[in-house]
C-alpha cells in the first residue's frame, strides 16, 4: 500500500515539474518597436495591433518606443552610438540609417521559402524604394505617391478642367488665369529645405532629371527645371518662401492657392484643417516638362526594418510577416496613406479609410483611385540620395534667392552643381 502511495506521489511530482518546465520554457520575447506614428489615430492603431498580436502569440510582447518622424533618425543615431539597439523600427527613407550601418539586410529573410511575405506582393515602385545598392532594408507597409493636387472648382471657375494640365505650358496658362488679387495658383513650401527640395524633385521627375544629378548631360534639363520656377514666380504667393508643409496645406484649404505638389498624405493633413476641401480636390500626375516623353511620379514608402544589433531578429521578422498580412497592412495603411500591397482593392481600402475619414468617404475614395492610377501608370521609385539633407539646405538657400529675384537659373545651376559635388566627395 505504501509503495503505491510513493509511486503516486512520484508521478504527481513528475507531472508538476513537467508542466512547470513547459511554462517556464515558454519565455516571452520582448520586441522593442520604434514606432513613429504619433498622431492619435496612428497611436490607436498601434495599441490595437499590439493587443491583437499578443493575444494570438502569447510568447511575444511588444514594447513601443514612440518618437515623431522628425526626431527618429537623431534618436536612433544616439541610441546605437551608445550601444542600445531596439529590435524593430518603422522607417521611410532608409538611406541614412543604412549608411550608418544600423539596419539588417532583409534579403535572406524575404527570399527564404518559408517566408509568408514575398517581393511580388507589393507594387514594384514602392518596393524598390526599400532597396539600396541591391540590398533590401525594409518591407513596405504603406506607400506615398507624389503628384499635383488641384482644386477643381477653382480651376473650373477659370474655365479649365483636369485634362488641361498635361504639360508645363498648360500649367502656366492655367496659373495665369487663376491668379488674381490675393489668390495664387501654385503653393510651394519653400521655407524649409526638405520641402523646397521635394517640390523641385517632383518637377524634376516630370522632366526626366534628378535634381541631385550634376552630370553635364543633364545640364539643359536641370536648367529647364530651374527656369520653370522662374516662370512660376508670379503665381506663387510671396509668403511661400517662409512656408513649411502645414502652411502650404492651410493655404490650399483656404483656397488661397489652387495647386500644390504633394503626396498621398494630403487627406490626412488637410482633414485636420478643413475636410471640406477634399471633395473639391483631385490628384493628377505632375504635368510633364519639355524634355520628357511622358510624365513620371515618384513613389516612396513607409515600412518596417530590423536593427543590426537586435537580439531577437527572428522574432522581429515574424512580426514583420504578420504586419505584412493583407488585412493588417490594409488597416495600417488606411490611417495615413495608400496600401503597398497590390492585392488590396480600391473599394476595400476606401471603406477602411472611411473609418478614419467618415464625412468625406466618397471624395476620399476618388482621391485614392487617383493616386493608385498614378502609381500604376507613372510610378517610379523615388531616388535615394546619400547626404540629401545637406544638399537640401544648399538648394533651399538658392531657391530663396531665385524666388525673390536675386538669382537666375544659370547662376543657380553653376552654384548648386559645385555644392553637390563637394557634398558627394565626403
Amino acid at each position: 500500500m505504501k509503495k503505491t502511495h510513493d509511486v503516486l506521489w512520484f508521478i504527481a511530482l513528475f507531472l508538476v515539474l513537467a508542466v512547470t518546465s513547459i511554462v517556464w520554457a515558454e519565455e516571452k520575447t520582448t520586441i522593442r518597436f520604434v514606432y513613429c506614428g504619433t498622431s492619435e489615430p496612428e497611436k490607436a492603431w498601434s495599441a490595437e495591433y499590439k493587443k491583437d498580436l499578443e493575444k494570438r502569440y502569447p510568447h511575444i510582447s511588444i514594447e513601443y518606443i514612440y518618437i515623431p518622424w522628425a526626431e527618429q533618425e537623431k534618436k536612433i543615431a544616439i541610441m546605437t552610438q551608445a550601444g542600445d539597439y531596439p529590435d524593430l523600427i518603422q522607417v521611410q527613407d532608409v538611406t541614412t540609417l543604412s549608411a550608418m550601418g544600423v539596419l539588417e539586410p532583409l534579403d535572406a529573410y524575404i527570399d527564404s521559402p518559408n517566408s509568408r511575405v514575398k517581393r511580388t506582393d507589393f507594387y514594384p515602385a514602392a518596393f524598390d524604394y526599400s532597396i539600396i545598392n541591391g540590398v533590401l532594408y525594409s518591407v513596405p507597409a504603406h506607400m506615398t505617391a507624389y503628384g499635383l493636387i488641384v482644386n477643381k472648382e477653382m480651376l473650373a471657375q477659370a474655365g479649365f478642367g483636369l485634362e488641361d494640365l498635361k504639360t508645363w505650358d498648360d500649367l502656366l496658362k492655367v496659373a495665369e488665369k487663376v491668379t488674381h488679387d490675393e489668390v495664387y495658383a501654385y503653393g510651394y513650401a519653400a521655407g524649409l529645405p526638405r520641402f523646397a527640395w521635394r517640390d523641385a524633385m517632383i518637377a524634376g521627375y516630370s522632366n526626366g532629371v534628378l535634381i541631385a544629378d550634376t552630370s553635364p548631360e543633364s545640364r539643359s534639363k536641370y536648367i529647364e527645371v530651374l527656369k520653370w520656377y522662374e516662370k512660376l514666380r508670379p503665381y506663387i504667393p510671396p509668403a511661400a518662401v517662409t512656408w513649411s508643409y502645414p502652411d502650404m496645406f492651410r493655404a490650399f484649404c483656404q483656397e488661397q492657392v489652387a495647386m500644390i505638389a504633394a503626396g498621398s498624405f494630403f487627406t490626412a493633413n488637410v482633414y485636420a484643417i478643413d475636410p471640406g476641401i477634399v471633395p473639391k480636390s483631385r490628384a493628377i500626375v505632375y504635368p510633364k516638362g519639355p524634355s520628357a516623353e511622358r510624365p513620371s511620379a515618384m513613389v516612396a514608402n513607409a515600412g518596417w526594418a530590423i536593427l543590426k544589433g537586435s537580439k531577437a531578429k527572428d522574432v522581429a521578422w515574424f512580426v514583420i510577416e504578420d504586419l505584412s498580412e493583407r488585412d493588417n497592412l490594409a488597416r495600417e495603411a488606411a490611417v495615413v496613406g495608400l496600401p503597398a500591397r497590390r492585392d488590396i482593392t480600391i473599394d476595400e481600402f476606401a471603406d477602411l479609410a472611411g473609418i478614419y475619414y467618415p464625412d468625406i468617404k466618397d471624395a476620399n475614395r476618388q482621391l485614392i483611385e487617383d493616386w493608385l492610377s498614378i502609381v500604376s501608370n507613372y510610378g517610379v521609385p523615388q531616388a535615394k540620395i546619400l547626404r540629401q539633407s545637406e544638399m537640401e539646405v544648399k538648394f533651399q538657400e538658392k531657391m530663396y534667392e531665385l524666388l525673390t529675384g536675386t538669382l537666375d537659373a544659370e547662376g543657380f545651376y553653376e552654384r548648386i552643381v559645385k555644392d553637390i559635388e563637394e557634398i558627394r566627395k565626403k
Binding site: C36, G37, T38, S39, E40, P41, E42, A44, E63, Y64, I65, Y66, I67, P68, W69, A70, E71, K74, K75, I78, M79, Q81, A82, G83, D84, R250, C253, Q254, Q256, F265, A268, N269, Y271, A272, I273, D274, P275, A302, V335, V336, G337, Y356
Partner: protein, 284 residues
C-alpha cells in the same frame, strides 16, 4: 507705511496701472490667442479672417488632451512635475551652499571656479547626449525620472550657484562674525542668520531651475522612451505628427495645460518676494 511710497517712480496710481496693462497685454496676447483657440473645435481654428468670438465653444479639446486615448497629458504632467520638482530641490541645496562660498569668501581660485561654472553651463546641447546616454545606460537609469533630474542638475546648478552668489553679495558683511561671537558655529550662523536673508534668491533660483527642467525638450526626448518617464514637452511635440491627422484644437488645449502648473505654483510662492525681509536683520 505705504510700500508704494518708497518707489515713487510712477507719479500716480493711474500711470502704474497703465504700465501694468501694457506689460500684461504684451505678455499675454499670444497666450490669450492660445486659450481662445483651445475652446474652438479644430476646424474653426483656421478661418481666414481672425474672429473675436468663439462660435461653438467646447471642452472637447481638454477632454482629449487629458484622456488616455488622446494626448494622455495626465501622466506626462505628473512626470514633469516630479522631475522638475526634484530638480528644483536638488538645485536649491547645491546653489545655496555653493553660492554662499562664491559670494562671500575671497578665497584662492574663486575666479577659476567662476570660470569653471560658466564652462559647465556651456556644456549643454546635442553633443553631450551620446556620452550621457552611455552613462545612463551603464547605470541602468535610461527612461527614468531620475536621469532627467541628474542631467537637468548639470544645467541648473552652475547657473544657480552664480545667481545665489549675487544675492549673498548683498547681505551685510560680518553678520556671521557677530553671530559666531555669540556662540554660533559657522554653519549655524549660515543657517540661522544668512539664509533667511536670501529667501528671495532661493525663491528665484528654485523657480528658475523648475522652469528649466519643465521646459526641456531635447534631453527628455532622447533619454525617455515610454509613458513611464516621458515629460509633457515630449508628449506635446508628439502630437504634431507628420502623417496622421493632427488635432489642432487638442494641441492648443495641451499647450494651455502645459503652461498652467508653473504659473499656479508661482502665484502661491511669490508672496515670499516682499520687502522687509532684509531690513529686519539690520535692526537686530
Amino acid at each position: 507705511m505705504e510700500e508704494g511710497e518708497c518707489m515713487r517712480i510712477f507719479r500716480s496710481l493711474r500711470t502704474q496701472y497703465l504700465y501694468l496693462f501694457l506689460i500684461m497685454a504684451f505678455t499675454l496676447f499670444p497666450f490669450f490667442w492660445l486659450v481662445f483657440n483651445s475652446f474652438k473645435p479644430s476646424r474653426e481654428i483656421f478661418s481666414a479672417r481672425p474672429t473675436l468670438y468663439v462660435k461653438n465653444p467646447t471642452l472637447e479639446n481638454y477632454r482629449w488632451a487629458l484622456g488616455p486615448k488622446g494626448a494622455n497629458l495626465g501622466r506626462y504632467l505628473l512626470n514633469s512635475i516630479l522631475a522638475a520638482g526634484l530638480t528644483s530641490l536638488l538645485t536649491i541645496v547645491f546653489a545655496t551652499t555653493g553660492g554662499y562660498a562664491l559670494g562671500r569668501f575671497a578665497f584662492w581660485g574663486r575666479e577659476g571656479i567662476g570660470v569653471f561654472l560658466v564652462l559647465s553651463q556651456m556644456f549643454q546641447g546635442p553633443l553631450i547626449m551620446i556620452p550621457w546616454y552611455k552613462m545612463a545606460s551603464a547605470m541602468g537609469i535610461i527612461n527614468t525620472r531620475l536621469v532627467l533630474v541628474l542631467i537637468y542638475g548639470t544645467a541648473t546648478i552652475p547657473t544657480c550657484v552664480w545667481l545665489m552668489s549675487g544675492f549673498y553679495h548683498g547681505v551685510p558683511k560680518d553678520l556671521e562674525e557677530a553671530a559666531m561671537i555669540d556662540g554660533c558655529s559657522h554653519f549655524g550662523a549660515f543657517w540661522r542668520i544668512v539664509l533667511p536673508l536670501v529667501v528671495p534668491g532661493i525663491i528665484a533660483t528654485g523657480l528658475y531651475s523648475f522652469i528649466i527642467a519643465w521646459n526641456d525638450y531635447q534631453y527628455a526626448l532622447i533619454l525617455t522612451s515610454s509613458d513611464f518617464a516621458k515629460t509633457v514637452q515630449v508628449g506635446l511635440a508628439e502630437l504634431m505628427g507628420f502623417f496622421g491627422k493632427t488635432s489642432w484644437g487638442g494641441i492648443m488645449a495641451s499647450g494651455v495645460l502645459t503652461s498652467l502648473p508653473v504659473i499656479v505654483l508661482f502665484v502661491v510662492i511669490q508672496r515670499y518676494l516682499i520687502e522687509g525681509l532684509t531690513s529686519g536683520a539690520v535692526k537686530s
